[in-house]
């Protein structure tokens, strides 16, 4: 376990900024405690200082996961956000997409969101903007990337993809072994 280097921090923040914009500083600078990012076996974890001190005394081979995993660095040093970060991203999300109850299941199985399944979308969503996907009952389901801007969403035909799937809470069941 080690702190992130400058380049790694920049990569992580750039990815997070796509979903929560400038609200990252609310994650970095919290009033209820000091939280920090640490890297353990190519995965980025978000943990409090108290937990960090406890985790520091665990040997590296035995340590599974200190804190919440936000994502991992791939072999070519790109940062991939994982579903376990949803609890921290959802409250600060800037662009949201609500999915109709009929196609909720489809999204939870890993499919993209079609125009026919789109309930609501935040105004001014740019194309390829990171969005957090909610059900109509305001339960966060996962996140994705807007395939079309809000304006285009209105004009496009019902079977076109409007949100690319990135991660959903169904992965907790499907990808149980790879999540930490």
């Amino acid at each position: 376990m080690r702190p992130l280097t400058e380049a790694e921090t920049r990569a992580v923040f750039e990815k997070l900024a796509k979903y929560i914009g400038e609200n990252i500083q609310l994650l970095v600078d919290r009033p209820d405690g000091t939280y920090c990012f640490r890297l353990h076996r190519d995965r980025v974890y978000y943990l409090s200082e108290k937990l960090l001190k406890l985790a520091a005394s665990v040997p590296r081979e035995s340590l599974v996961a200190p804190g919440t995993c936000f994502g991992k660095f791939t072999k070519s040093q790109k940062f991939r956000l994982s579903i376990t970060a949803l609890d921290f991203l959802a409250p600060y999300a800037k662009y949201k997409v609500w999915v109709k109850p009929g196609s909720e299941q489809s999204f939870l199985y890993g499919n993209h969101v079609l125009k026919s399944g789109l309930g609501r979308i935040t105004e001014n969503t740019a194309q390829y903007q990171g969005v957090v996907v909610y059900s109509m009952a305001d339960v966060p389901l996962g996140f994705g990337v807007a395939a079309k801007s809000t304006q285009e969403c209105r004009k496009v035909d019902p079977l076109a993809i409007v949100v690319f799937h990135q991660a959903d809470v169904g992965e907790y069941v499907r990808k149980e072994d790879t999540l930490t």
């Binding site: 080690r2 400058e6 920090c36």
Partner: protein, 291 residues
């Protein structure tokens, strides 16, 4: 006489020290002695110098001094400065030499490449043999065999002396951490690994400093956002196209409808020029009217 001279020197140095009157004006004069320095004696005797090698003897005889060589050499073929030896050296990679001329008096059947390789191997072996012989000679003479000659002779160049100074500084019980530096030496000690391994921040370092560094990074990232919002410009273009399409449809229906829509147009395009005048506004209240 020696004792008298030494006492004289001691007393004169005592009088040079800053003094003050103890116990008010009438008291005796008291000198402020300097802080005591604790000089530990050497545990072991200093090492004796090694005997000079055969080459060193010869060089001293002939008066040959070490010529300082530049580390980079101009490569005419590549038209740039290349190393004298090592990775990408001047003169090309010797292992990829594709031509080996047969010298004048040599056997035409002989393999020149094999000959070059064999000669290189022989040269390396001879160098190694001489090195071991010098080492054995020094060992036999009962002298220490240090890596570099630690006593300043007149025949050392600057790099050797720098290396020797570094060895001397590090040869203390605390590995040179508390040694005072020479006046022209660099202030920061060089890295312990010689710059080889990556070193990361400590795991539980100053968390407040880490947080402030991250906030500064966020601020830098935030300030670099582009001012022109492409999607907003695209949306405005789309809206205008929609309006024109609607206007053309109205033309087919009735004239009055078209006039009504044409009157609406200057108000709509006013928004676009308004956006140009204030390019900082990214999040639009105009988004509400887009629907």
């Amino acid at each position: 006489a020696l004792a008298r001279d030494n006492t004289q020197l001691l007393v004169s140095r005592l009088w040079e020290l800053p003094a003050e009157r103890a116990g008010g004006a009438g008291g005796p004069l008291v000198a402020q002695l300097p802080e005591p320095t604790f000089r530990l004696p050497r545990e072991k005797p200093p090492p004796k110098p090694r005997p000079p090698t055969r080459w060193e003897q010869f060089a001293r005889l002939k008066g040959i001094r070490r010529k300082k060589k530049t580390s980079l050499v101009w490569d005419e073929q590549a038209k740039e400065w290349r190393r004298r030896w090592g990775y990408r050296r001047a003169g090309g990679d010797p292992s990829r030499a594709w031509l080996a001329e047969v010298p004048a008096g040599a056997d035409p059947e002989e393999d020149q490449f094999a000959r070059l390789r064999r000669e290189k191997r022989e040269r390396v072996a001879r160098n190694e043999l001489n090195r071991l012989r010098n080492l054995a000679r020094a060992h036999r003479a009962g002298r220490a065999v240090p890596a570099a000659p630690l006593h300043p002779t007149g025949h050392q160049d600057r790099d050797e002396l720098r290396r020797v100074a570094r060895v001397a500084r590090v040869s203390t019980a605390s590995l040179g951490r508390f040694q005072p530096r020479l006046p022209k030496e660099s202030a920061e000690p060089p890295s312990r690994n010689g710059g080889k391994k990556r070193r990361f921040e400590p795991l539980l370092g100053n968390l407040a400093a880490e947080r402030s560094r991250q906030l500064e990074l966020l601020r830098d990232m935030g300030s670099k956002k582009p001012v022109l919002d492409i999607t907003r410009a695209v949306n405005k273009q789309l809206r205008q196209e929609e309006a024109e399409a609607a206007a053309n449809k109205g033309k087919k229906q009735s004239k009055r409808g078209k006039r009504g829509r044409q009157q609406q147009r200057p108000g709509r395009s006013g928004k676009k020029s308004g956006a140009r005048r204030q390019p900082q506004q990214r999040k639009a209240a105009g988004g509400g009217t887009g629907g």
